[in-house]
């Protein structure tokens, strides 16, 4: 019996899905990973594949579709052979990304957000891809390309029209620089793989050597070793290391709570979902300091008593997966991972990497855990917190990449050493992702307490009117505040340091950030789901010249409701960019306002455009009189 080509494709798809599901152990908590890999192989998620995935994982089809529909990188409709995503951070726009995107659309005969007629290419925008220091950036079939220019757009368009596979494109297109401009204790650590783990284990034996000599026996030696984790925990507590993801929670306290929580097992999760627009430090740490990170995770596992770890890698950094997996494989060979690490009985730990699929909210730790469990990335209700009820309801610590790297340093050098650096409440150093209007964008690592002015001087920024510290959810500081310091007690930050000179329109900056929040709202709670879109509506209305004082009042009203009732930080901070810039750069808003107290967003004459087009009329009678 002959099989039709369609049958053959279906057969092939089925084999593929079965293989991927088997590789993820038929585990429904790996749904997102299965979806991501099936899409990578098929270009999108065809309906029969979703049905098969649901059946093989024993999940309701609606739930599988619900997860597929949550993540912006997953597509249930066919897309182009080449899938182009332009990074849409404000720095990309400042570097001309909007013009470059329309150039590419023009060359390839495609409308933004659609697939070209011949199915060759689809072009759209995506939230910040973490290439702000070498933008404008884009992803082509998941691979990053930076430093876009008209020339690059022309080259890329030609490669696509020639239908050259992305794997065969010139390698220099995909070159991503680290751009480390100022290294301190972390970026200049000089440690070899495993150094931090060895140091942690030694802290256990130091505990033993402090005991009286007559107690020395193999039994005491074992007890001594058991003291190791506590000794490491003590050092981390003494260091006063605080979370580098933005919230600044004390790491030692988090670890201790997890260690003391009751559970069947414990988990260490590295939050590598670096989604705050303007931040790219984790990209560099993952690229060039992966061993330090894995050392830090292993030290954390040793301290809290975990045997399994996860790295939740943001989808935009999926291109690093292969390299990171090979580092993990090497570490297994070196006995830095696996059973009895470095010969320590019972010290079992391994790390698995899960890749996200385009969702900013998943950077919130409980949403990250939901995503890691193969669900929609919606923040949980807390309490209970992850330290007691985390991944699969077990005690779990979730730490930022930079925090875990710093913890590795603490394991080697000790808590007192670490605490001696930085300020009273913010010990150690902070890596800043410097981008925007400056001569030398890139990574700058400083001890906490550095002033905004110092950073601006070091990176060669001139005529600066504002700096957005810690991205859209952070703080906008103006010239009068450049004496403020980067520290938890003054300007807390997850790392983004985005510079705007006097040529920039701060209203447009706030509008870009508002678009970001509306796009990334998970939609769980009413105030954020509806409120962020209402905010964007107000901003677009003001931009269109129809804004009045009424709209500014509405923004203030929305802010109040978001602050009071939003489910997570995204909603709480969604108004910050507008309120900050409205306060500090009010003329940029007021010159757009119409003086009347209220004007409708609805343009009656514009609404008749379609009717005019259909009737072929454009005479004066087909227009409403211009209102005074």
């Amino acid at each position: 019996m002959a099989t039709s080509p369609a049958d053959a494709v279906a057969q092939e798809q089925e084999t593929l899905v079965r293989r991927i599901v088997a590789r993820w152990r038929h585990d429904p908590s790996c749904l997102l990973q299965v979806l991501r890999e099936v899409q990578e192989a098929c270009g999108f998620l065809p309906p029969p594949a979703l049905t098969l995935i649901a059946r093989s994982l024993r999940l309701p089809l609606a739930r599988v579709r619900g997860v597929a529909g949550f993540y912006s990188f997953l597509a249930t409709e066919p897309r182009g052979v080449y899938r182009v995503l332009f990074s849409d951070n404000v720095t990309d726009r400042m570097q001309g990304s909007e013009r470059l995107m329309s150039e590419m659309c023009h060359r390839l005969w495609v409308e933004p957000g659609k697939v070209s007629e011949d199915g060759l290419v689809s072009i759209a925008t995506t939230s910040c891809t973490g290439l702000c220091d070498q933008g404008p950036g884009m992803l082509v079939n998941g691979r990053p390309i930076g430093r876009l220019s008209s020339e690059r757009i022309e080259n890329l368009s030609r490669l696509m029209l020639e239908r050259r596979p992305v794997e065969e494109w010139p390698a220099d297109l995909f070159e991503i620089e680290d751009n480390v401009r100022r290294a301190d204790i972390l970026l200049g650590h000089g440690l070899a793989a495993g150094d931090a783990i060895r140091a942690a284990l030694r802290r256990g034996t130091q505990g033993r050597s402090e005991r009286p000599a007559n107690e020395r026996s193999w039994r005491e030696a074992y007890v001594g070793a058991a003291l190791g984790p506590v000794a490491v925990l003590e050092e981390v507590k003494r260091s006063n290391l605080r979370g580098r993801g933005g919230a600044g929670f004390t790491t030692g306290i988090k670890w201790e709570a997890c260690r003391h929580a009751t559970g069947i097992t414990r988990y260490v999760i590295c939050n590598a979902d670096e989604g705050e627009p303007g931040t790219f430090k984790d990209r560099v740490l993952l690229t060039s300091h992966a061993d330090l990170l894995f050392d830090g995770m292993t030290v954390a596992a040793y301290a809290v008593g975990a045997s399994k770890g996860f790295v939740y890698l943001r989808g935009e950094y999926g291109y690093l997966l292969e390299r990171l997996n090979s580092v993990l494989e090497r570490r297994r060979h070196e006995n830095l991972l696996g059973q009895g690490i470095l010969g320590q009985p019972g010290f079992d730990f391994d790390i698995e990497i899960h890749v996200g699929a385009g969702s900013y909210v998943c950077g919130e730790e409980s949403a990250l855990i939901e995503s890691l469990e193969g669900k929609r990335g919606v923040p949980r209700n807390r309490p209970p917190y992850p330290v007691t009820n985390g991944y699969l309801q077990q005690p779990t610590i979730v730490n930022n990449v930079e925090t875990l790297c710093a913890a590795a340093l603490v394991a080697v050098q000790g808590g007192d050493w670490y605490r001696s650096i930085g300020t009273l409440k913010s010990s150690g150093t902070k890596i800043l992702s410097v981008a925007g209007d400056c001569a030398r964008p890139g990574l700058y690592e400083y001890p906490f307490g550095v002033t905004v002015r110092q950073v601006l001087e070091d990176c060669g920024a001139e005529r600066t009117q504002a700096v957005q510290v810690s991205g859209p959810s952070g703080i906008c500081v103006d010239v009068t505040e450049f004496g403020r310091r980067i520290a938890l007690e003054d300007l807390p930050t997850a790392g983004a340091f985005t510079i705007f000179d006097t040529s920039r329109d701060m209203f447009e900056v706030a509008r870009n950030y508002t678009q970001f929040f509306a796009h990334e709202s998970c939609g769980f709670c009413t105030p954020c789901r509806v409120g962020t879109s209402m905010l964007l509506g107000s901003m677009e209305k003001i931009r269109g010249g129809n804004g009045t004082l009424h709209d500014l009042r509405e923004i203030a009203r929305l802010n109040k409701v978001l602050l009071m009732s939003a489910h997570c930080g995204l909603g709480h901070t969604a108004c910050n960019p507008i309120l900050d810039t409205m306060k500090k750069f009010r003329p940029m808003y007021e010159r757009r306002l119409r003086s009347r107290d209220f004007a409708p967003a609805f343009d009656l004459d514009q609404a008749l455009a379609r009717a005019r087009q259909m009737t072929g009329r454009d005479d004066a009678g087909a227009h409403l009189e211009n209102q005074p």
Binding site: A62, G66, F70, T532, R557, M564
Partner: protein, 245 residues
């Protein structure tokens, strides 16, 4: 029997059993806090945020906040009621709600909350989303224009009916209800008109066919008594305890 711990709600003591949330304890004690996505028969999930209250000065959804001894909860304040009004306005603006022509009018929780909280105006630009109606099922109509994404049908179908007929897809403003069938049509799911998921819909999304307007408007549930009174009548009580109202 004063063994139960208590917290203060608007200055008055409310007893609670450990494990109860603030809203659950309040309703049990005959005290009303406006709420929408909470239902006494289901685990609270806290998405609508209408029940937002101040617990020791910090705002939180009272349906998911565990009750704790001696905390002070503020609920019936102008500031909080204003937030609630705005949230209800947001839900009205987000969907396509035309009360006069809706079969659920008078039995609708969103409408009843609007009346009870004194929502007098739309407040926001309506979004007028393009949403489908699914009339494929012989006995059940699904009108997604009125969906407020409370997830009660999702929870009921999964936890009570054991079917998972309903789920959510999309995110942000594009979040929407979907049904569990390959065709995406309700008729092809295993939903039954007797399912809890069908009965639990607080608005006019999941409607039984051919029973419309059996009770005349004006004589319906919230036409007779406001939702603040009805919610207390529905609240779980300990056996033998009579309504305080």
């Amino acid at each position: 029997m004063n063994e139960l711990p208590t917290f203060l709600l608007d200055g008055e003591e409310v007893p609670f059993t450990p494990g109860q949330t603030v809203l659950q304890a309040a309703l049990t004690a005959g005290r009303y806090i406006p709420h929408l996505c909470y239902h006494p028969e289901f685990t609270p999930h806290g998405s609508c945020k209408v029940c937002t209250a101040k617990v020791n000065g910090r705002t939180a959804a009272s349906c998911t906040t565990p009750a704790e001894a001696a905390v002070e909860v503020e609920s019936n304040t102008e500031e909080l009621n204003d937030t609630r009004r705005t949230l209800v306005q947001m839900l009205f603006a987000e969907g396509n709600h035309f009360c006069p022509s809706c079969e659920k009018s008078g039995n609708c929780v969103l409408q009843a909350l609007g009346y009870d909280l004194g929502v007098m105006t739309a407040g926001f630009r309506h979004l007028f989303p393009d949403r489908p109606v699914d009339a494929s099922h012989p006995e059940i109509l699904l009108d997604l224009n009125r969906c407020i994404l409370c997830e009660l049908c999702v929870r009921a179908s999964r936890d009570v009916d054991g079917k998972s007929v309903f789920a959510l897809a999309g995110r942000g403003l594009t979040k929407h209800l979907i049904v569990n069938s390959e065709s995406g049509r309700l008729a092809d799911t295993d939903v039954a008109v007797t399912d809890k998921a069908v009965a639990v819909c607080p608005v006019g999304v999941i409607l039984r066919k051919r029973v419309g307007f059996a009770v005349p408007i004006g004589e319906r549930r919230f036409d007779l008594r406001p939702i603040s009174a009805r919610a207390l009548e529905d609240a779980p009580r300990k056996p033998g305890e009579s309504d305080r109202a």
